[in-house]
């Protein structure tokens, strides 16, 4: 258990770090997908196999691919690679992130009763059970989610489509 956790967490951390530090966009995206996979593994460790599957399917299979497609299909989107990697005032960003990190782990370290062992491992929930719960009583949430996805689909298409010819703005 420990070893799997350790390896997977290291992979996740490495993947995340690389994702934000690499110059090459495609490399960064691939690193992100590694991160997703590592996280899926962690979900399995946590006996949430369904979620792990969904994570692979959605994040790796859709979001990651989507980002890759967006990068590859938009001309010169990678931008010039020389120049600064980070924006101006990145130190504040670092400080902010560090502060948030501290805020997040402060209660973890200070509170007691967090190192209880997990509950006895019953069977992980089956897909059938999850499906049943999804439909009733969380059916409304499911439907809303469907609406959301539809809206996102339409919105993405509209936002990404090039403007009509006659409404083209002259180049600045």
């Amino acid at each position: 258990m420990n070893a799997a956790f350790l390896i997977l967490s290291l992979l996740a951390v490495a993947g995340a770090l690389l994702a934000i530090r690499l110059h090459n966009l495609v490399h960064a995206t691939l690193s992100l997908m590694f991160f997703f996979v590592a996280l899926a593994g962690l979900f399995v460790l946590l006996m949430a196999e369904f979620i792990a599957a969904v994570q692979i399917l959605v994040y790796v299979g859709a979001v990651g691919i989507l980002i890759l497609f967006a990068i590859m299909l938009t001309p010169h989107v990678t931008g010039e690679n020389h120049g600064r990697l980070c924006s101006r005032g990145w130190i504040w960003g670092l400080a902010g992130a560090g502060a948030v990190f501290l805020i997040l782990i402060a209660p973890v370290l200070l509170m007691a009763g967090l190192d209880t062992p997990p509950a006895t491992a019953a069977l992980s929930p089956s897909v059938r059970e999850i499906g049943l719960v999804l439909m009733t009583p969380y059916g409304i949430a499911l439907l809303v989610m469907a609406l959301l996805l539809t809206a996102a689909l339409v919105g993405a298409v509209v936002a990404a489509s090039p403007p009509a010819r006659d409404k083209d703005e002259p180049k600045p």
């Binding site: 934000i20 960003g93 973890v108």
Partner: protein
């Protein structure tokens, strides 16, 4: 053995990394990637709490995570579409150059 603490610290680290990316990198797509990392870290947090909680038969943690993933996917697609549209306008993915939304 792995306790909740480990998972929480892990997710905190991942979240901070994601935040760092959002606040620091100049490329718009990297900012989106950072957002995705943050969301995932939050999902990990949720699952960990579900797992180490008292009632494993309540699936709220799982369902929450499910919905979070769905929303993240929707947001990622729309976000990328917007990045493309904005890139089309500014001709550069550099967020520092995208500063016309001011007085």
């Amino acid at each position: 053995m792995v306790t909740l603490q480990h998972y929480l610290i892990l997710s905190a680290v991942l979240f901070s990394i994601g935040l760092l990316g959002v606040l620091t990198r100049r490329h718009a797509v990297i900012v989106l990637i950072g957002i995705e990392i943050m969301l995932n870290a939050a999902n990990l947090n949720l699952i960990a709490f579900w797992r180490f909680g008292p009632h494993l038969e309540n699936f709220e943690g799982l369902l929450f995570t499910l919905f979070s993933i769905a929303v993240a996917a929707a947001e990622a697609s729309v976000g990328l579409a917007l990045v493309i549209a904005v890139y089309r306008h500014f001709k550069t993915p550099d967020v520092e150059k995208m500063n016309t939304l001011r007085e």
